[in-house]
Structures are given as C-alpha cells and as structure tokens.
C-alpha cells in the first residue's frame, strides 16, 4: 500500500515536473509558433540566478519565485528584440538561431561560473511514508505547478490580456483586429515565456545540482511535451505531460530510469506519427 503511494507520488511529481519545465516553451510556441531551443538554457539560468542569490544571503523563496523570473524575463526581452523578432514566420531559422543562442549561453555560463556543479539545499525537509523516505520538496513542486497552471488558465480565460493572448493563438491578424500591435504582443509573450522558464529553473534548482550543460537535460523533455501537446498551451501541455509522466515513471519502476526515459522518447515518436498536430490539435480544438 505504501509502495503504491510512493509510485503515485512519483508519477504526480513527474507530471508536474514536465508541465513546469514546458510551460514557458508552450506559451511561446502556442502563441507565436516559435520553437525556442535555448529554452533549456533559460531554465538553467533561472537556477543559477537562484543559487547566486542564495549564496549572497537572499531568502531562497524570494530568489526562486521573484528574482529568477524577473532576471530571465529581462533576458528574454533582450533576446526577442535582438534575435527573435527578425525571424517571425521562419520556424526552422528560429530553431537554428535559438540553438546558437543556447550554445552561446552555455559558453557564457562556463566562463562565469566554471564547469563544476553548484547546488543549494532543499528548504523543505523529507518525511516518512510508511517505510519509505520521501522528499518533501517534491510536494512543493507539485503545488507550485498546480497553482501556476490554474493561474495561467484564469488569466487566459477571464482577463483582457488573456483575450489578446487567445487572439494571438488564432493568428496575428486577430490581434491586429482587436486593436493591438502584434509585434508588441509577441514581445511581451516571449518575455513572459522566458520568465516562466526562469521560475521553473529557480524552483527546480534545489533538487538538481546545476552545470552549464544542465539545459540540455530539460530541452528535449520540454520540446517533446510541447510538440506532442500541440498548439493549446495549457490543455495540450497538461495532457502530454500526464501521458509522458505516467509512462516514464511506470517503466522506470519496472526497470531502470534510463529505460523509462527511452520509453518516453519512443512514445513521443509514436504519438507524433499518429497525431502530427499534437494531442490538442486532435482532441481539443480551439481550447486553451
């Protein structure tokens, strides 16, 4: 019974993890049809910001929930103005340019922080579930992810900004018809997406030690979650995160974590072959 609880919690955690690291990428892809391959590095920078702040004596929650999103968001704004805005509508070129950006960021972080791993201790102690020792911080991540998704859904559904954002998902001409400048909307979208990546990086920093190359571990998972999810930012991402999370953890428990990850990747290929428009393109058309 305890074991079932452990498995269930681990599955929930994996789903939350995938949804959290994909949220920023999903918003940018859903609204702008831009694939940001530097997304993993944005997450990594959120982590480094958090760790640098904690080392400087700032409260860990303030660092991960406020400072990391602000810093990475500001960086996203700069990147959008300098690179992304010249490439709208050229999806492959955007992927290549952001891949270059990801290499550039890895190089910069290596230059500044060196190649050794850095980490902060998790601020929440573990607890006992029957005879199993569980990480309390995992529950915090599940909670944060649920709050974030509910918040995003509420904003998209009930606010003026959400209305414009949903317009942007339909296409730039809808934004223009609503009376807004699509260029400006895209700029804000990319900044918000980067800030969400920074938040994910900050929140995950205490769990995983950070290396300059850590971004590579996130990008593939976030990438397949978003593409398999399809264009609807929240529903699509959540459904693909759920499928991948369940498969990854069940196979991991049955064999090894590496086989679990391979199963998840193989499943992604099968799902993409069956549903090239993504899960939301197939089942929840016009959803958010």
């Amino acid at each position: 019974m305890d074991y079932a609880g452990v498995v269930a919690l681990e599955i929930l955690y994996m789903i939350a993890f995938l949804a959290l690291i994909s949220a920023g990428l999903a918003i940018v892809f859903g609204m702008m049809r831009v694939i940001n391959l530097a997304h993993g590095e944005f997450v990594m920078l959120g982590g480094y910001t958090t760790i640098a702040c904690v080392k400087a004596g700032v409260d860990v929650y303030l660092a991960m929930l406020v400072i990391a999103p602000l810093v990475v968001g500001a960086m996203g704004l700069v990147v959008e103005r300098l690179i992304i805005r010249w490439l709208y509508g050229r999806i492959i070129d955007t992927m290549l340019a952001t891949w270059g950006l990801s290499l550039l960021l890895v190089g910069l972080v290596t230059l500044i922080f060196g190649t050794s791993a850095v980490s902060v201790p998790a601020p929440i102690p573990g607890y006992q579930l029957g005879s199993y020792q569980m990480g309390g911080y995992n529950l915090f991540i599940i909670g944060i992810t649920v709050l974030l998704l509910v918040f995003m859904w509420a904003v998209l559904r009930f606010t003026r900004a959400g209305l414009i954002a949903r317009g942007a998902m339909q296409g730039p001409e809808v934004v223009a018809a609503l009376g807004y400048d699509p260029g400006k909307v895209y700029m804000i979208t990319f900044t918000v997406g980067a800030a969400l990546s920074g938040l994910a990086g900050g929140v995950l920093a205490p769990l995983t030690g950070l290396l300059p190359s850590s971004g590579g571990a996130y990008i593939a998972k976030a990438f397949i979650t978003v593409i398999t999810g399809g264009a609807a930012a929240i529903l699509g991402t959540l459904s693909s995160a759920a499928i991948f999370g369940v498969i990854n953890q069940l196979v991991s428990f049955a064999s090894t974590p590496v086989i679990g990850e391979i199963a998840m990747l193989a499943l992604a290929i099968v799902l993409l072959r069956l549903m090239p428009q993504g899960i939301s393109g197939r089942f929840f058309r016009g959803g958010t």
Partner: protein
C-alpha cells in the same frame, strides 16, 4: 537561378586540382589532423546533400554518424577483419534511416515534427549507449561499455590481409578516397532526374506530388543515402579515434554539423565540405586554449549566419562573383557594339 545552378554541375578541372592537392598534402602537413578534417567534411557533405538539395533538415544527423561508428566497432571486435564491418557501417545506418525516414515521410511529417523525431532518435541512442555499462550489455564479443565506450577494436586493414593495418598516411588516403568518392556519387545522383526531383520537392512539394512523382519514396531514398555517407564518416572517425564513446551521438555533434553546413552554404556540396574543414580547424585550435569557450564562438557564429548571411559563405561568394562577371561581360559587349558601330564612320 538557371537550369544548371539548380543542382550544380561537375567541374572536372577543380575536382582534379583538389585531388592533386589532397594527394600531395602529406608532403607538407600533418595527416592525422587532416584526416579528421576530411572525416568531418564527409559528415557535413552528407547533411548538405539532404538539407541543401532535398530541403530536409535533420536535427539528429549524429545518430547515423554514431551508428556507423558503433556498428564498425562491434562488428570489428566480433569478426576481426575490417572489410565486412566497413560495409555494415554503411548499410546499418542506411537501413535505420530508411525505416525512420519511411515512417516520417509516408506519414506526411515535415519541418518541426521531423526535427523533433530525428532529435529524439539521437537522444534514444545516446541514452541507451550511455547506460550500457557492465557485462550484461554485449553483442557477441563486444562489450558496449556505457560512457567509456568501446576501445581497442581492430582498425581498418587492407581487404583480405588482416595483418596489414591502415593508419597514418594510408589512413589519410582512405579518407581522401571516401570523401571524393562520395562527392562523385552525390554529383552523379544530382545530375540524374532523381536530383532534379529532390530540388523540385524542396521548392514545391505539392507540385511535385501532383506531377506524379513519388515524393515519400524519394525523400526516404535521399535520407537513407545521406545516412549511409554519415555512417561511413562515423566508421572512419572510429578508426581515427580508435575508440567509440556515446559522445558520437551527442547534441553537440548534431549542432556542429548543422553549423558547418549552414556556414559553408546550403544548396552546394562544396560549401559544407569547406565549412566543416574551416570550422573544424577553428574548433581544434580553440580546443588547445582555455580563454574562449568553444561553444560561445560556435553559438555567436550560428546566430550571425542565420540573421546576416542567410545563404552561407559559398553561395554568397558565388552570387557576388556571378554578378561581377555579368557586369564585366555586359561592359565588354557594350564596348564591342560601340566599336562595331563606330567603324564605318572612321
């Protein structure tokens, strides 16, 4: 774009000059480094054929490169002689690519989705090979070795004579032969109607389909041919390094080859070759010092090329040269006409 430029034409003069230079090069240069540059050039050319002509960008070309390297190492350990492993290192990636390609292209998957699938295939191979430490993972006599890879397999030998190994200068000539041979093969393919159909697919896929060409079959075929060349490059790389590790499947390997092709120039075969050799040399040089990080330079270069020099170095130069020559011949023509019309009055 005129008819000949669409697929390029064979320039025998330049080809023979290159051949002569490459054959004479061991007189003055270090063949060990040069062999590696030629292997990278072959790898880049295989992607250049796929991406530049058929317009199919694979975000996981390292999968076929690595598969060639691993296939050679595993087969060489088991067989001990190098001819069959060499052939297998070409055929296995080609077969793998034919399966993955058929799955994608008959399913009408393109652009981003093709990018994701090719990337994921590479990641699967990388993750799997990294996790194969221990005695349980072995194929025949070959232990896969996890992160440490497979060391100490027999390197290439003269066909039929297992005791005469090829290394140093002979190995260099093998690389020259592989690169030039694949170049001729690619040129021949592009000169046939197959090449024209590939360019047609790149320019307008729907139109090609409506004209009655079997687009998925052509795409799968070029994908497999390109993978076969990448596999050959991987096999040579395994022989050059004398060890294969999961690093051959890494994202960095994939990123590098894309940058080489892009910088060298899309829609040419020579561009990727020159791009790979020039940037490969820069990479080797940067690897010797620690002030500037290699990926920083590569990243900046990639951003710059995508934003500023869309067509890559070689086509940009070619365009500049063509327009200059056209201006020159126009000026000459005008002068001749002027001269002709002024003659009777003189």
């Amino acid at each position: 774009m005129n008819e000949w430029r669409a697929t390029g034409s064979m320039q025998w003069g330049w080809f023979l000059l290159a051949l002569a230079l490459l054959v004479l090069l061991p007189l003055g240069f270090d063949t060990h480094t040069m062999s590696l540059l030629l292997i990278w050039a072959l790898f880049a050319m295989s992607l250049g054929l796929l991406w530049g002509y058929a317009g199919l960008l694979s975000f996981g070309h390292a999968a076929w490169f690595g598969l060639g390297a691993y296939t050679y190492a595993i087969a060489a350990v088991n067989i001990g002689e190098s001819t069959v492993p060499l052939l297998l290192a070409i055929l296995v990636p080609a077969a793998g690519a034919a399966i993955v390609g058929a799955m994608m292209f008959y399913g009408r998957i393109s652009d981003v989705y093709m990018g994701v699938i090719t990337l994921v295939v590479t990641l699967i191979l990388f993750n799997f090979m990294s996790a194969t430490a221990g005695d349980a993972y072995r194929i025949g006599d070959a232990r896969l070795g996890g992160f440490n890879g497979i060391p100490g397999f027999p390197i290439l030998n003269v066909p039929g004579m297992p005791e005469v190994s090829l290394f140093g200068v002979p190995m260099y000539y093998v690389c020259v032969a592989a690169l030039l041979g694949c170049y001729l093969l690619a040129r021949w393919l592009l000169a046939r109607s197959f090449g024209r159909i590939l360019v047609g697919i790149r320019e307008n896929e729907a139109r090609c389909e409506l004209m009655g060409y079997n687009v998925p079959a052509c795409k799968t075929a070029v994908f497999a041919i390109s993978a076969a060349m990448a596999g050959l490059a991987g096999c040579l790389f395994a022989n050059w390094a004398e060890i294969v590790t999961p690093g051959v499947f890494s994202l960095r390997q994939t990123a590098e080859v894309i940058i080489w092709v892009l910088v060298g120039g899309l829609g040419t075969l020579l561009g990727p070759v020159l791009g790979a050799m020039a940037l490969g040399a820069v990479k080797l040089y940067l690897g010797e010092q620690t002030v500037i990080d290699n990926s920083l330079v590569l990243g900046l270069l990639l951003i710059f090329v995508v934003l500023g020099m869309r067509r890559g170095a070689l086509p940009t130069l070619q365009g500049w040269w063509d327009s200059r020559r056209r201006r020159l011949s126009l000026a000459q023509g005008a002068r001749r006409r002027l001269g002709a019309s002024s003659e009777p009055t003189a």
